[in-house]
């Protein structure tokens, strides 16, 4: 089985994330890492590899040069090889352009050995749009089985459980396909010392836009199909009133507050 896992390099969500003066996400000034939610996709890919002999897991990332860290982390976890698509022209790309770059890179990655499974996390921890997996399915003309909380495979048959707002569904499809997984699929493994050492010798390629046949004019901030006009730091919430509960005073104070705000 040939699996490509899409991994994103994102600003650390516990750091002070910010925007640049051109309203793009600051991906350089803030420490970055592999998006936590993509670790679950890497984990599921590795579990499939363990179950299916002869499986290759390729970690694919689109981002600045520093984004190679996200690919390395996937290799340390156990992916076999990595690809970073990096090109100055890509900076500021929206979902549509990002999905184009990913789709073209997946096509190239599968040129000799067709890709059976494209794996993604349920969302990135920065933009959290959750739309790129569906866009990849559309671009690659593949079925999508997305937001999986449970993944089951038998040969090329895939079944997933999907918990939507109003129902729990079982979705079935045949590979090749695009899958996205939620954190409900199970804890992602930590890289072992052995994994960290082994990762240093794993193949890691860097591709530019011309390598994957994408014209620089099709991507980037200037041609994005959406425009961000304004980014404003939310004013810190004005310090609220904090009371200490003593002999039941907390419940009364809480009730008074709710009454004053007309919630009761």
């Amino acid at each position: 089985m040939n699996i490509v896992v899409c991994v994103k390099y994102v600003p650390d969500s516990t750091a002070d994330r910010q925007f640049e003066s051109d309203n793009t996400v600051d991906r350089v000034g803030v420490d970055g890492l592999l998006s936590e939610l993509d670790e679950y996709a890497v984990e599921q890919a590795l579990q499939l590899k363990e179950k299916n002999e002869g499986t290759t897991v390729t970690a694919l990332c689109v981002g600045p040069e520093k984004a190679v860290d996200a690919v390395r982390k996937a290799l340390q976890m156990g992916a076999d090889q990595g690809i970073l698509v990096t090109d100055e022209a890509i900076a500021g790309s929206d979902y549509v352009a990002t999905s184009l770059v990913l789709a073209k890179a997946i096509e190239k990655a599968g040129a000799e050995n067709k890709v059976d499974l494209v794996m993604c996390g349920m969302a990135s921890t920065d933009a959290s749009g959750s739309v790129v997996p569906a866009m990849l399915a559309e671009r690659l003309d593949l079925p999508q089985v997305t937001f999986a909380s449970v993944v089951e495979t038998q040969g090329d048959q895939v079944r997933i459980k999907r918990d939507s707002d109003t129902a729990t569904e079982v979705i079935g499809a045949t590979m090749p396909l695009v899958m996205s997984v939620t954190d409900q699929t199970g804890e992602a493994r930590y890289p072992s010392f052995k994994g960290i050492m082994a990762a240093k010798k794993k193949p890691l390629e860097t591709w530019s836009l011309s390598d994957i046949g994408v014209d620089a004019g099709e991507v980037g901030l200037s041609v994005a199909w959406t425009e961000v006009t304004e980014t404003t730091a939310r004013p810190p919430r004005t310090a609220g009133e904090i009371v200490k509960d003593e002999d039941g005073s907390g419940a009364t104070a809480l009730t008074e507050f709710l009454v004053s705000k007309k919630f009761i």
Partner: protein, 317 residues
């Protein structure tokens, strides 16, 4: 005035409240037209309500051929409807399905997409909350038909009494859109409480409940609220994942959010920071959740909540 399409979110004909909020937003951009996937009977029934709340037209797309498959056929049908109507925008509810149908439609129609909007203004300016609500972002779609997915509780529901004229729309669905099959479907059991994402009030519990959600549920019922849970409570197996508020669970934006025994980690904040009023009860006065609150009680939720519940019930008479 151009049409603005609103994709109706419904369960077997029962329209969910966020759809009505979309109608309000749609009317700011043009003339609201609802798109209903379902049988013509259910569509006609829905049209009455949709008209009342702002839809001039209701396109009913027969879903016999569509409903057994995930997302792709709906995107195909909408692409055909977009072609026919050249709308000023298409609005979706920001859920798994709304986002993914919009995503595919973006590629099909060469259109820009904005997700998780909390407001849409005249002229198509869209507001989002970014980085767990620490930033407010305004933007616009600059190419194609603006495709906007909107979070629940982003606009009021308005009674306007529009026509709600039904128009059947026949879509052609390709075989390639029918590759991801819905093999089984189990509707979520009704809890008797409001649905988490659309509730005006949410009362949540976390690690501090120690697994006992009774005090949380009691307060929720006194306030007519939905019950939520932090990731810690879900990971401990105390509540099902469908109750989880946070980055990987539900993102809520109610009028009032009451966090009980929840420390307020970034993952949780991402799911509730845009709530209008925030209240917390926590034993630990250093808990980061207190940085967000309008009102906080440092105390044990197991004593504070039942006492508050009793007092609230008394006041309600």
């Amino acid at each position: 005035m151009s049409e603005v399409l609103v994709v109706v979110d419904h369960v077997d004909g029962a329209i969910r409240k966020p759809t009505f909020e979309l109608l309000t937003l749609a009317r700011r951009l043009g003339e609201a037209s609802a798109v209903f996937f379902g049988s013509s009977d259910k569509g006609a029934e829905a049209a009455t309500k949709l008209g009342q709340l702002g839809a001039e037209k209701v396109y009913v797309v027969d879903d016999t051929e569509i409903k057994g498959y995930l997302v792709a056929p709906k995107a195909e049908a909408l692409a055909q409807l977009v072609e026919k109507t050249s709308p000023a925008a298409v609005l979706f509810v920001s859920g798994y399905e709304g986002k993914e149908v919009a995503a595919r439609l973006a590629i099909k129609t060469g259109s820009g997409i904005i997700t998780d909007a909390v407001d849409v203004e005249e002229g198509g300016v869209v507001t989002q909350a970014a980085f767990a609500g620490n930033y407010t972002v305004k933007g616009k779609v600059t190419k194609g038909v603006p495709l906007i997915t909107v979070k629940p509780n982003s606009a009021p529901v308005e009674e306007v009494g529009a026509a709600g004229t039904v128009e059947e729309f026949a879509a052609t669905i390709s075989d390639s859109a029918k590759k991801a099959q819905i093999v089984a479907q189990q509707p979520r059991k009704a809890s008797g409480r409001p649905e988490l994402t659309e509730a005006a009030i949410v009362v949540s519990g976390g690690r501090g409940t120690g697994g006992n959600f009774e005090p949380v549920e009691g307060l929720a019922d006194a306030l007519g609220a939905a019950v939520g849970a932090s990731r810690a409570a879900v990971d401990s197996g105390w509540m099902p994942h469908t109750f989880q508020v946070g980055q990987t669970g539900k993102v809520v934006s109610p009028q009032l959010y009451v966090a009980n025994g929840i420390s307020g980690a970034i993952q949780h904040r991402a799911g509730m920071q845009t709530s209008k009023t925030i209240v917390a009860v926590n034993k630990d006065e250093e808990a980061p959740i207190f940085e967000l609150v309008d009102f906080g009680v440092v105390g044990d939720l197991h004593t504070v909540l039942p006492a508050a519940t009793e007092e609230i019930n008394k006041r309600k008479g």
